[in-house]
Amino acid sequence: MAELILAGFGGQGVMSMGQMLAYAGMLEQKKVSWIPSYGPEMRGGTANCAVVITDEEIGSPVVVEPDVVVAMNLPSMDKFESTIKPGGVLLYNSSLIDRKPARDDITVLAIPANEVANELGNTRVANMVMMGALLTQTGVVKVDSIHKGLEQVLPSHRQDLLEVNKQAMERGSKLAAE
């Protein structure tokens, strides 16, 4: 069972990142759930969602103690770092976050997602850089399933974006493997 929280500014693509993970999990015949936070915090310009991917039936889709947190910006890391299960994983976007996480009972990965994305010529794929790192670090779903999901999710007139998305994932994956 994996319980993830993905968080960032609105527009950083954390919501769709979560949906892709859930979709991939579904393709792998797992039980999955995705839920956005829709409280007043949304107004602050931050957004987050929780994803559960597991073999058993899913209890609460609302994740309180995540196994994995992806933090795309500082407020997100501030908010969720302390909630991670001991032994869990924190991936953070070191392009926008300059402070180091304080926890020492979790695995921490700093991914310069925006920089990498910019290198690829498309800031919007920063989330896919994170995705690549996440998959490599946690193996929560297969890279292939995400690819299939991408093909499904991208509207036909946007299929040209497939390639850059895949590249972004690869770069992220490498960073995580380092």
């Binding site: 579904m26 409280g39 209890g59 609460s60 889709p61 609302v62």
Partner: protein
């Protein structure tokens, strides 16, 4: 058909369309907005009608008109909006019109908040409107169940000529889960020969809840009561989980029941013989499920996202034969497994 990943709110909408619903009247309110929004996109594609009414009051009365005209029709809202619909719902029940009403509950009272809650249980199951009527109420616990029960709701509504309510909450409305749509039209549904489609070649049809002579109105009321009795006989739905040898049965529906299920699993791991009785139909309340429980049951624990509403139905059903306890969070706070386990242990311990 392949599985799709869908939000609960959208899944309800698609399920309705699959079940032949071509008319939707609603008014925006969080956390159910994805439902009307989905309808506004999809209805034109299937030659259906999506209309945003000027208010919930108007929406429920548009539902009345459309239902009276023979259509499969739906409206959805959340708590404050559902309160505004109470007069209309009473009229629908009184005029014996089928329709499906969705309430994606949020914290109350008043404007309250927009987080998930179950605090409209009384309103849904006892009739928040005036008069001796009931609405058939389903409390799904997953997106798939929202789909299945929505489809069933249309059939049941038509069969009983009565409004049917889908009671969800913000969690169920907002979450995505994989779903499949399998609608098989129910058989033997009565023809809608009472609908106001124009009195061509027949006597006029009248849709009406008025009867100025008390004795006539009473007769009508007993007919309604007979329908509710029939529904109580035939439409109870529930799930029993780990109840075969249970000593402590937790009773919970909807979102809460999922968390309780996790809690039950953990309680079992800790050696406590806990089970879950999950009402799926809330009216009729699944009394039959209680009759199936083993004699090992020493305690009931009702868990709700409300200050104690469904627990009344548990008490009424158990009728003093076994102690009934209660644990609830309210106003949009979702209970976690840990607190439920703590309470469960207290209850179980208290018996030793």
């Amino acid at each position: 058909m392949a599985k799709q990943l869908m939000k609960g709110n959208e899944a309800i909408a698609e399920a309705a369309i699959k079940a032949g619903c071509r008319h939707f009247f609603g008014y925006p309110i969080t956390p159910q907005n994805e439902l009307p929004q989905y309808m506004s996109r999809r209805m034109p594609q299937v030659d259906g009608v999506f209309l945003q009414a000027e208010s919930e009051v108007s929406a429920i009365n548009m539902v009345y008109g459309a239902a009276g005209a023979g259509a499969r029709v739906m409206t959805s809202s959340s708590s404050p909006g559902i309160s505004l619909k109470q007069e209309g719902i009473s009229y629908l029940a009184g005029s014996q019109l089928p329709c499906v009403i969705v309430n994606i509950i949020r914290g109350g009272p008043g404007l309250g908040g927009i987080q998930p809650a179950q605090s409209d249980y009384f309103q849904a199951t006892r009739g928040g409107g005036h008069g001796d009527y009931r609405v058939i109420v389903y409390g799904p616990a997953s997106v798939q169940e929202m789909v299945d029960l929505t489809m069933e709701a249309f059939d049941v509504a038509d069969r009983y000529r009565n409004p049917v309510m889908i009671l969800g909450d913000g969690v169920l409305g907002q979450m995505m889960e994989p779903v499949e749509f399998h609608y098989k039209p129910a058989e033997g549904l009565p023809a809608k020969d009472w609908a106001t489609t124009g009195a061509a070649g027949r006597d006029p049809n009248v849709i009406n809840s008025l009867s100025l002579v008390a004795e006539h109105l009473e007769e009508h009321n007993w007919r309604l009561q007979d329908k509710y009795k029939e529904a109580t006989e035939k439409e109870q739905r529930w799930e029993l989980y780990n109840c075969d040898d249970a000593e402590l049965v937790l009773v919970a529906y909807g979102t809460t029941s999922r968390i309780v299920k996790s809690a039950v699993n953990q309680l079992r791991e800790q050696g406590i013989k806990a089970g879950l009785l999950r009402p799926i139909s809330l009216f009729p309340f699944p009394e039959k499920a209680f009759a199936q429980l083993p004699s090992s049951v020493k305690n009931f624990l009702a868990v709700e996202m409300s200050a104690g509403q469904m627990v009344d139905d548990v008490r009424l059903t158990v009728n003093g034969a076994t102690p009934v306890h209660f644990y609830g969070r309210t106003a949009g706070v979702i209970p976690g497994p840990a607190e439920i386990i703590k309470k469960a242990k207290e209850v179980a311990g208290g018996e030793k």
